[in-house]
Structures are given as structure tokens and as C-alpha cells.
């Protein structure tokens, strides 16, 4: 039997993948948008619906970012409301371990698991930088290593609470000293499903030790296979088998009547995602300099990126570039070779549309990724709210079902059960 594909739907929130200028684009805030996307995902028998979390509005050059969608509702509150209008769909929320407290969050997640009949999932992130701290009591900043120490203990504490089944508990570690009686009985899943989204060595170890799934950003076939191999090989150290951790990259897709039609649509979407102004801002995120004087259609800067990582031009976004100088040189070489201006280069190098084509081609490629261990499934990131998933559900899901690699009915009552997790 071929591997079964996991499918999840990412709500098109704040980033430039979300095209707001399209006449079909609806509200990013109205509950009706969340409801439409979730119901569509459930109609397509998706495993779960995924929401990111925001803790502060992103800034660039010291100003609030104003080009992409800005602002979003609170993660848990939206998921609780979605539990009322869906029956089977998992409800996954990103909730950082740095600016929450274990008792409060464990209780909220237990509540969501109960109120949804066993469909809650938690994507643990650690949130980069002290920028977010300005909105919280803790304030300030945790070192990268301490963030993962806290996240690991946070998960341990949450598990101790869930396992206490409403009874007495105590958790004492370097980060937390908490005791008392947990206010919630054991929830339908026992432990809500836990995902992780950090990519560093610390993030991968945390995933291997504690979590059920990884939301990865490795989406090119060879790179994804390498990531898959690396993370799965870490599991044995913790006495876990390979199937106990699912790897699910975030990807986007474009469907067309022919492959050429899909390519053309993809090109059109990319130009909407990367306006001339957005191109300059995205270039600044690598260069770490004010490049507002550059022509979006002109050549890349000759000046080198600024390497001071403590003082970045963009605030409120995870660092995306490990080696700025090397990446800049790669981009310059590529621009020169293909004779690309800034905007066209950015369109090429920041794209995540790896699945472009007819529904049949996309279904075949998704299947190939999963069968060749590039991943266990996908978190689909549509570029439109709220209808961005309609065509996928109508056109690709039936083909995956025909291939025998995707469910036709939900098999279990809980998300954990549908994901095949113990």
C-alpha cells in the first residue's frame, strides 16, 4: 500500500504570498473567510486547518509594514469558533512558548480539544528576537538556546498537566516551577497534536524529542529529502519510530487547464505577490540595508549586505538567510546570467510555487514527493482568501483519491487518529 498523504490548509494570513489586490480577494479578518476556507478543507477531507500567530506587527526601516496583509485575529479564539462550524477537521494553531505560560496554554488547548471533540493541534514556535517582547510582561529577549530550553520544558509541563487528568500535579524545571490541580479532565486526544516549525539544530532536536509533526519550509525535492532523512534519523535517539513524526512542508500550487496555462497563471500571481515596492523590501531583508533608492527594474546593488544580525532592517519576522553574503552573490550571478532586474529576480528566488500544472500533473507530483520520502504531506498555502482552496479540493483531491493515496472519508474521530499517530 502506498504512503497516505497528509493534507492541511494554511489560512492565507500576513505575508506577501497572500494576494489582496485580486478582485476575488475577501476579508482576512471576517469570520466568514475562516469559515469558508475551513469548510472547503473539510469537504476535501483535509487533516487540519492551520493558523499562524502574530505578536507584533512587522516593521521594516522602523515603519509598520504596509504592503502585504497586516493584522489578523487571535489564533485560539478563531479556532474555537471554527469548532462550531466543522466536524472532523483538525484545528491547528501556532502558539509561541516564549510569551505564553504553560498552565494557561495547556488549559486553553485542553479546552479546545474538548470543545472540538478531539481536534486540537498546537504548533510550538519560539518566536525570534526581543522585538515581540515589547508587547509582553516578560519584555526583552531570550537567547536562541534558552528559547528551546524553555520550549522543551514548556511541552513537558503541558504534558504533565494533561496527564494529571484534572488531579494534582507538580512540574519543576529550570524554567518553570508550577504546582496545584489542573482544571481540566483528560481531553479526547489526551495530548493535543504538537507541531514544531523551527529549522535550526535546536528546533530539529526539539521536534525529534517531543513533537508529532514538523511544519517545514523545505519544499524542493532534493532539499526536502535531505531534511526528511536528517530529522527522521534523530528519532531513534529518543526511542521513537520513524512514523511517529510527520514532516509537512508549507507549499503553494497553481492549477491550469494545461501546463502552459498554469505557468501563465503562476507568473501572473507572482507579479501580484511581488509588486515593485515589495521587491525592494524583500531585497532589503537579505541586504539588511535601506535600498529605497534602487530601481525595482534595475540591477542588484553592487554594495554588499550588512552582516550585523543584531540590528536588522526587518523586525518581527524569522531570520531567513543564514549566509547573507553567499546568498547575495548567488542572486547576483543568477540575475546577471539571466539578465534579470531586481523585481524579476525576487519573483524567481522567493517563489514557493513548486506545484504548477494541470490537476493531474499536480496530483502526480504531490504523490511523488510523498512516496520518495521528501515529506509525509503538505500544508497548502493558497494565495487567495477565502476561495483559494476551492479548485484544489474540486480538482486535485479526487485524483489523489483515485490514486489510493488520500482518504475518501475520515477514518477516526480525532485528529491524532486521522494522522495515524498513536
Amino acid at each position: 500500500m502506498p504512503k497516505q498523504i497528509i493534507l492541511a490548509a494554511h489560512f492565507p494570513g500576513v505575508n506577501n504570498t497572500t494576494v489582496w489586490s485580486d478582485p476575488r480577494a475577501g476579508s482576512q479578518i471576517a469570520f466568514a473567510s475562516f469559515e469558508h476556507l475551513a469548510r472547503t478543507a473539510e469537504r476535501g477531507r483535509f487533516d487540519f486547518f492551520f493558523l499562524a500567530e502574530g505578536l507584533r506587527l512587522r516593521e521594516q526601516r522602523g515603519l509598520i509594514h504596509d504592503l502585504d496583509v497586516v493584522g489578523r485575529p487571535d489564533t485560539l479564539t478563531v479556532l474555537a469558533a471554527l469548532a462550531a462550524v466543522t466536524e472532523h477537521l483538525g484545528l491547528a494553531g501556532t502558539l509561541n512558548a516564549t510569551y505564553h505560560e504553560p498552565y494557561e496554554l495547556a488549559r486553553q488547548l485542553a479546552t479546545l480539544d474538548h470543545l472540538s471533540g478531539g481536534r486540537a493541534a498546537w504548533n510550538v514556535v519560539t518566536s525570534p528576537g526581543g522585538f515581540f517582547g515589547a508587547n509582553f510582561r516578560r519584555g526583552g529577549f531570550l537567547d536562541h538556546a534558552d528559547r528551546y530550553l524553555r520550549a522543551g520544558e514548556f511541552i513537558e509541563a503541558a504534558r504533565a498537566l494533561w496527564d494529571s487528568d484534572g488531579g494534582d500535579f507538580a512540574y519543576r524545571g529550570r524554567q518553570f516551577d508550577i504546582r496545584g490541580r489542573f482544571g481540566a479532565p483528560r481531553s479526547p486526544q489526551g495530548h493535543p497534536v504538537i507541531l514544531q516549525a523551527g529549522d535550526s539544530d535546536g528546533g530539529r532536536e526539539l521536534a525529534a524529542k517531543y513533537t508529532d509533526a514538523i511544519f517545514s519550509r523545505h519544499h524542493q525535492l532534493a532539499d526536502a529529502q535531505e531534511f526528511y532523512r536528517d530529522v527522521k534519523s534523530r528519532l531513534a535517539r529518543y526511542g521513537r519510530d520513524r512514523d511517529s513524526l510527520k514532516i509537512i512542508p508549507g507549499v503553494s500550487y497553481v492549477l491550469g487547464d494545461s501546463d502552459a496555462d498554469a505557468q501563465e497563471k503562476a507568473h501572473h500571481i507572482r507579479r501580484q505577490q511581488v509588486s515593485p515596492q515589495t521587491a525592494i523590501l524583500l531585497l532589503e531583508q537579505l541586504w539588511n540595508r535601506d535600498l529605497s533608492g534602487y530601481d525595482p527594474d534595475g540591477p542588484l546593488p553592487e554594495i554588499d549586505p550588512r552582516l550585523d544580525e543584531d540590528d536588522t532592517i526587518v523586525q518581527g519576522r524569522a531570520g531567513m538567510y543564514a549566509d547573507r553574503l553567499r546568498t547575495a552573490n548567488e542572486w547576483r550571478a543568477r540575475a546577471e546570467q539571466k539578465n534579470l532586474g531586481i523585481r524579476d529576480l525576487i519573483i524567481e528566488v522567493t517563489g514557493r510555487q513548486n506545484f504548477i500544472g494541470t490537476p493531474a500533473r499536480v496530483a502526480q507530483q504531490l504523490d511523488e514527493y510523498v512516496q520518495t520520502d521528501a515529506c509525509d504531506g503538505f500544508i497548502l498555502v493558497p494565495h487567495l482568501t477565502p476561495t483559494g482552496l476551492d479548485d484544489f479540493v474540486d480538482q486535485v483531491v479526487p485524483l489523489l483519491q483515485e490514486r489510493g493515496v488520500f482518504r475518501t472519508e475520515y477514518e477516526a474521530g480525532t485528529l491524532r487518529g486521522n494522522l495515524g499517530l498513536a
Binding site: 489582496w20 489586490s21 479578518i29 471576517a30 469570520f31 469559515e35 502574530g54 505578536l55 507584533r56 506587527l57 515603519l63 509598520i64 504596509d66 504592503l67 502585504d68 496583509v69 497586516v70 493584522g71 489578523r72 485575529p73 487571535d74 485560539l76 479564539t77 478563531v78 474555537a80 469558533a81 469548532a83 462550531a84 462550524v85 510569551y99 505560560e101 498552565y103 494557561e104 488549559r107 486553553q108 479546552t111 479546545l112 474538548h114 470543545l115 472540538s116 471533540g117 515589547a134 508587547n135 509582553f136 510582561r137 519584555g139 518553570f176 516551577d177 508550577i178 504546582r179 496545584g180 490541580r181 482544571g183 481540566a184 479532565p185 481531553s187 509588486s275 515593485p276 515596492q277 515589495t278
Partner: protein
């Protein structure tokens, strides 16, 4: 004069169906709002999430969860309540609570409990921060201006720059301004410590009789809505109600009797200047249906209660339109 009517729900059920059934009763009877009790120390679900869970399944009733300021982040409270307002199309409220309980502090493990004065000072700051964050986006901040490529007008977003002894919050909110502008803030007020310090729109009070209600109303600043809390055991036969009441004690006055008897009491207390009543069903399974199916029709017959046609909780309660402190513009 008609009264506003609220019901307090404080169940410990984790079954969504139980909550949906209760809130629907209140919704269908035209009650103005329900409150959802909560504290970290108790057994029971998170009240904000319960309110959100029932929001898509109800249409009119205000949804007012209790949330503490003692162990929470004002930023999280503000965004969660703003979101409840978006999800419910303008029906969200918040009942502010503080916690002096050392056992609750041990659950969070953060610090030694504060004294009462500090707890209220901290709560006052939290309310201020939550309100500023709700105002931190102008109503028309989202412009979707294709010509300039801008999704928002950043000049219509505001840093709140709050700094106090307990926390500092920069802002702006991550959630665009909620439908009501300012969701309704309520607080249980046993005494002046609360109404003098916490900037609430609605105070739930616990007078023992009509005279006490009048004294309290005189002390509370004008423009605020004062509700009297009453525990209600209702039966067609007064003796049965008194029997069920047993030894029930509460901060609030306890009424045990017929729906008509409770309507008499409401008629007698209301002239004290009360805006409304919050009823605590003695036994929710019995007394909540008695309130919605018997008391409410009785009050309507007497002209003491009239379901509002307003769509937002602010409008329902006759609160003035929320003015955005950063914009100075009123809204409907």
C-alpha cells in the same frame, strides 16, 4: 422603564453541547447578555474559548467571558476579546477579574501574589492597555489601495506606548479594530475599590434590597450601567423553590419563589436606578429554562423587559458609541 436582563453561566462542563444549549436558551429568549464565569483555579473550561465556541451558533445575545488580569498578558486578552467581537459580529464583552488566591499563583508559578490594592492597580492598568489596543487601529486603516500598493494606511495605526509598574506594552494591536470599537467591559463590584478604579461600562453589584441598590447606584459614576446580581430558584410552587434553595448562600441576594414573585422583586428594585439584573440560575438545568420560558414572558407582559433589536452589545445596552481616542471619531 424596562430592564436589561443577563444570565450568569458558571458550569464546569467541557461538553460544547451543554454550553450551546444554555446560550441558545438565553439567545432565543432575547436576553441581553450571558456571562461565563472563570478562574485558573477552578475546574472548568476557558471562558473566552467557550464564548467563541458558541458565537457562530447564536445570533443576538452578548457574550461576556470572565478573564483575570492577574496572571494573563493584557496583549493576549485584548486580541482574544477583539477576535471574539469579530467572530460574534459585535457581541463581545469582558468581565474583568483579579485573583488574590495563592493557589492560583502557584499554578502559574510566576510570582508571589500581590496585595489587593496592587491587584486592582494592575487590573486598572490592564483595562487601560486592552482599551488602548482596541483603539490602536482606526476603523478605516485597511485601505487596499492598489494604486500605491498599500494594504493599510500606517498613519491610522497607533503605538500605545503604555508603561506602568506591572508591565509595559508597545502596541499596536495585531487585530484590526473590533466591530464595536470597544467591546463592553464589565466588572463585579462589591465596593468602591472596583468602580473607582476600574474603567468598566457595566458593574455587577450585589445589593441586599432596593435601598441598598439605590445607595450603590448613587455612588457609581454616571453613565455606567449598574446591574444587580440575584440568585434565582424558580418554581410554580413557592415551597418547592424554597426547598430547593436549601442553605444556598451567595454574595448576591437569593430569591426562591415563583416567576411572578421574581417579577415583583424586579419591579420593586428597578426604580433604584438599576439598568438591569444578572440572574444566577440556582440549578442551571432547572432554573435557566424557568427564567427564559416563564420569567421572561412575565416581565414582557408587565412591560419590564423588552428584547432589543440592536445588533451589537453596546447598542443593546444603550452605551454610547465608542470614540477612538487616537482618532477622535465617533462610530455608530
Amino acid at each position: 422603564m424596562t430592564s436589561h436582563l443577563a444570565v450568569a453561566l458558571d458550569g464546569d462542563s467541557f461538553d460544547a453541547a451543554d454550553w450551546v444549549a444554555q446560550v441558545r436558551l438565553a439567545d432565543e429568549a432575547g436576553l441581553d447578555l450571558v456571562t461565563f464565569e472563570d478562574s485558573f483555579g477552578r475546574r472548568g473550561p476557558d471562558a473566552v474559548l467557550v464564548a467563541s465556541r458558541v458565537a457562530p451558533l447564536t445570533r443576538h445575545v452578548g457574550l461576556v467571558p470572565v478573564a483575570t488580569t492577574t496572571h494573563t498578558e493584557p496583549f493576549h486578552l485584548s486580541t482574544a476579546l477583539a477576535t471574539l467581537d469579530h467572530v460574534s459580529h459585535g457581541r463581545a464583552g469582558w468581565q474583568v477579574r483579579v485573583s488574590a488566591d495563592p493557589a492560583e499563583a502557584a499554578l502559574l508559578g510566576r510570582r508571589a501574589p500581590l496585595g489587593f490594592d496592587e491587584l486592582f492597580a494592575e487590573a486598572a492598568d490592564a483595562v487601560e492597555v486592552v482599551r488602548r489596543l482596541w483603539d490602536s487601529w482606526a476603523d478605516d486603516a485597511i485601505i487596499k489601495d492598489v494604486a500605491t500598493g498599500r494594504f493599510i494606511d500606517r498613519d491610522k495605526l497607533h503605538y500605545i506606548d503604555f508603561a506602568g509598574p506591572y508591565f509595559a506594552v508597545k502596541g499596536p494591536s495585531i487585530v484590526p479594530r473590533p466591530p464595536q470599537g470597544q467591546p463592553v467591559v464589565a466588572a463585579l463590584a462589591h465596593g468602591p475599590r472596583v468602580w473607582q478604579r476600574l474603567d468598566a461600562d457595566v458593574y455587577f453589584t450585589t445589593p441586599a434590597d432596593a435601598d441598598a441598590a439605590a445607595r450603590i447606584v448613587r455612588q457609581i459614576p454616571a453613565g455606567r450601567k449598574v446591574f444587580a446580581d440575584l440568585v434565582a430558584f424558580l418554581d410554580d410552587d413557592q415551597r418547592t423553590a424554597i426547598g430547593r434553595r436549601g442553605a444556598a448562600i451567595s454574595d448576591a441576594a437569593v430569591f426562591a419563589g415563583t416567576p411572578a414573585g421574581l417579577a415583583d422583586l424586579i419591579a420593586a428594585w428597578q426604580p433604584a436606578g438599576l439598568a438591569g439584573f444578572r440572574l444566577w440560575p440556582g440549578d442551571p438545568a432547572h432554573d435557566l429554562p424557568a427564567i427564559t420560558r416563564e420569567l421572561v414572558p412575565e416581565l414582557r407582559r408587565r412591560g419590564l423587559f423588552q428584547p432589543s433589536a440592536a445588533t451589537t452589545l453596546r447598542d443593546r445596552l444603550g452605551l454610547p458609541a465608542a470614540v477612538n481616542r487616537y482618532e477622535g471619531a465617533a462610530r455608530a
